[in-house]
Symmetry: C2
DNA sequence: TTCAACAACTTATTATTAGTAAGTTTATAA
DNA sequence: TTATAAACTTACTAATAATAAGTTGTTGAA
């Protein structure tokens, strides 16, 4: 996804930032990462915890996450039909971003209410 | 975008979280917000600081931001053809999220290099 | 032991979103 | 007064996502 950053000497926006925020903002990506935060999950467990997601998109998003090194896929019990997905250290490190988003949601509610009551 | 959060009593993922992370992750949204962080900008200044963005999409994203109360649009000098876009307090509060994303990018580089050299 | 249901996809088709290009309107500058 | 620029708007094409159905191996009950 990203190259080593060379943004020190330009006035433009860092491409890594651009790529990253749109990558984790792709449809379902955020919630997939979020459900994996507590620990590894199997495919159908992810489906169960994300109402509305289609299996096609889930497969696609999980593949992208594996490709980017944020998630690992492992086969359980030497079976090709039992898989488990788990966040890598890089993936787990996104927790800070998730928390920042959650904090913002709460902060925003406060700010909007304040404005309405002015 | 969001409703008051009722997630305390469900095992599912918060819809506000889902909506929010995909809203700020829509194409160009992140970089538009990022360029507005230092202060208000005129339309053509935003175009100039985001290489590759089309004016159609920029207009669309700015309208969405205004609608969500993250940006205000004001007309300068009683002219209909000079506009300025500025972050609201809610919009500005997204800075924490942006910083978390930037931190993650750096952290990830460290983690990936560490893994490669193992 | 076979038949049904499940896990984890894959393929095909339709709908939504984004990108490109050209046109519009008011304002300013030469 | 004519040209250029600012800030859109419209029309059309390309890319991405959603829906629905089909595939392949696995497990579990009758």
């Amino acid at each position: 996804m990203n190259q080593p950053c060379k943004c020190k000497n330009t006035s433009h926006i860092c491409n890594n930032f651009h790529n990253t925020i749109e990558f984790i903002g792709r449809r379902w990506m955020g919630v997939i990462l979020y459900t994996l935060m507590p620990g590894p999950k199997r495919y159908h467990e992810i489906v169960a915890s994300i109402p509305g997601i289609s299996d096609r998109l889930l497969t696609e998003r999980l593949n992208e996450l594996v490709k980017e090194g944020l998630v690992t896929k492992s086969f359980l019990e030497s079976s090709t039909k039992k898989v488990e997905y788990e966040l890598t250290p890089s993936g787990l490190a996104l927790k800070e971003v998730m928390l920042a988003v959650r904090n913002w949601i709460e902060l925003r509610e406060v700010l909007q209410n304040k404005i309405e009551s002015d």
